[in-house]
Symmetry: C2
Subunit: 90 residues, 2 copies
């Protein structure tokens, strides 16, 4: 879970997740949304992937990234467990 929270800590990475909410995107298109060198962006994508928040798949010369719903659920559960009210028993 540590990797997940670390991944969410950077604004660019959160913006990437925001973009991917509306569907998968290829690396170059994602990079086009940011004022940043492409390799820097690739690094952010790797951080997200390593945290399991996104998935990647190659299609010919291009690589498509998509949001991983499962990890998203887990992240939400974790943050709720951490910040939510303490349950008085069951």
């Amino acid at each position: 879970m540590n990797k997940t929270f670390k991944a969410l800590a950077h604004p660019v990475r959160r913006q990437i997740l925001g973009l991917l909410r509306s569907g998968p995107m290829i690396s170059g298109d994602i990079a086009g949304h940011f004022d940043m060198a492409w390799p820097s962006l690739t690094n952010h994508l790797n951080v997200l992937k390593d945290a399991g928040l996104v998935h990647s798949e190659r299609f010919g010369t291009q690589i498509r990234y998509r949001l991983n719903a499962g990890a998203a659920e887990e992240a939400i559960a974790a943050i709720m467990a951490l910040l939510g009210k303490e349950e008085k028993d069951g």
Copy 2:
């Protein structure tokens, strides 16, 4: 919201929030839970406070920290907005 996510990125800070879930604690008692110099811990508390995740109040010579429920709710809402499924209209 950036400060909130930054604050959640460090394991010690998440553990502090975990401790505070069951009620307010004074600085020294929090520090006692960690294998770390007290000033380092104070710094983590400051990061949490700056993010609005905790509140502090002085009682005589000691300072009591408590979880800020409001900021917690906001953080949960933010992460759900970011990672949740895209709603098809209303």
